[in-house]
Symmetry: C2
Subunit: 248 residues, 2 copies
């Protein structure tokens, strides 16, 4: 007995340089995030989908696996593939950590306070440069519904000194970095809590009794080269991270 399942319309372009499995994965992802397939719904099986789309089974499999990795689908041997519960959807790309404060349902905005060249021995050391190296220093203020939530300071090595305030305001730091050839990174991050400085109290509009969360991070590209050093200060009202654990 064939279970009911949504038939997802897919348009493949074999002339495109984008791999077929990726084209398929993106369109399946859209179908789920757009709500055309609901959590718990059975998903079309591999064999049927490969016949319907004129693709080999491994290619379809690879696309589906992509969605499983992101938590959009759950596969059960002998049973089938199902759309996962919405809450186990993993946020891919930078959303999982960067700039991901507790902005659920609130309107986020960013004000760029400073884009300048300066020396900061601590960051230079973290970036494996001479302590006196001139770094590109960024200072931004993050808001939710107009209320200040975080002070974000970043230092980048000189090779990125062409970044401008306009680019940052339009696209965000990591979008700009991607244009500079920075793809995936691994970050080593340290979290601590302390009382705010006078300057932080003023910027975040908090009292001296309310602690802040201080995050210090250095990011490296896959070859191990340092990409950026960040020191962010958050209001202690809580910010949220979605994390995947126990890879298995």
């Amino acid at each position: 007995m064939a279970e009911e399942h949504a038939v997802i319309q897919v348009a493949l372009d074999r002339a495109s340089p984008v791999p077929l499995y990726f084209q398929l994965a993106e369109q399946l992802t859209s179908a789920i995030t757009d709500g055309h397939a609901q959590p718990g719904d059975p998903f079309e099986n591999e064999v049927a989908m490969s016949e319907r789309l004129g693709l080999s089974r491994p290619t379809v499999r690879r696309a589906i696996h992509h969605l499983v990795d992101q938590g959009l689908l759950v596969r059960k041997r002998g049973l089938g593939t199902f759309v996962a519960s919405r809450r186990v959807h993993r946020r891919v790309s930078k959303g999982s950590l960067y700039e991901d404060l507790s902005i659920q349902g609130r309107h986020p905005s960013t004000e760029v306070l400073k884009v300048a060249s300066e020396q900061y021995p601590k960051a230079a050391t973290a970036l494996e440069l001479d302590p006196g190296t001139e770094l590109l220093a960024l200072r931004r203020l993050r808001f939710a519904d107009g209320e200040p939530l975080a002070i974000m300071q970043n230092w980048l090595p000189p090779r990125h000194s062409s970044i401008t305030q306009e680019q940052l305001e339009a696209r965000g730091l990591y979008a700009v970095l991607r244009d500079h050839g920075v793809g995936s990174v691994v970050a080593h991050q340290s979290v601590s809590a302390r009382l705010p400085t006078a300057e932080e109290r003023a910027l975040l509009k908090i009292s001296s009794r309310l602690p802040v969360i201080a995050v210090s991070r250095t990011a490296f590209d896959p070859s191990g080269a340092p990409v950026e050093h960040a020191e962010h200060v958050y209001r202690s009202d809580g910010y949220t991270i979605d994390l995947v654990l126990e890879e298995n």
Copy 2:
């Protein structure tokens, strides 16, 4: 010209229920983490390895891809595969978040303070149970070199009430949960900072002026069923997370 590369000895058991690609991936991982292959070293290419081991190229590819995902290897089209810089090795499994305080080089230990059945409406609600449900409550104290670092409180649904203090002391919470059939989970985690309560000051041996980091987390299995609710309190001296960003 064939570049020098370490030839990694691999023993495959085709009779084993463990997939070949996984057997291979584990032995390649060991070779790197044991230092038989050093960061920057060129790695044997796919075709040569598949011929040497009598495996098909897709199977070898899958094993290598596994290591790339963990940041152990870096592949460069047209160039080859190389052992990654040590610092971009991702800690897989639970190490990436759970119980991963700043214990670098220090001796960790855990004291189990309580294993009991109790009601806690907040946790029960997070676990999607009736607020009056009896939950398994765990309370543990985490040390580094004998110094208290964190108070860890966890609540589990009744189906795990068979967990004992002996199991926890011997193997840790997530190792025990794995025996209960809990594999990978997705956690939604909220981080905030506040001043410690009197009880927290006593347990962590800190003054009332030193803030603590409060982490609240609920973990779900791949089907979306709640697995555990945790409320952990850390000393603010800083704890470290290693995170992977920008999946790409």
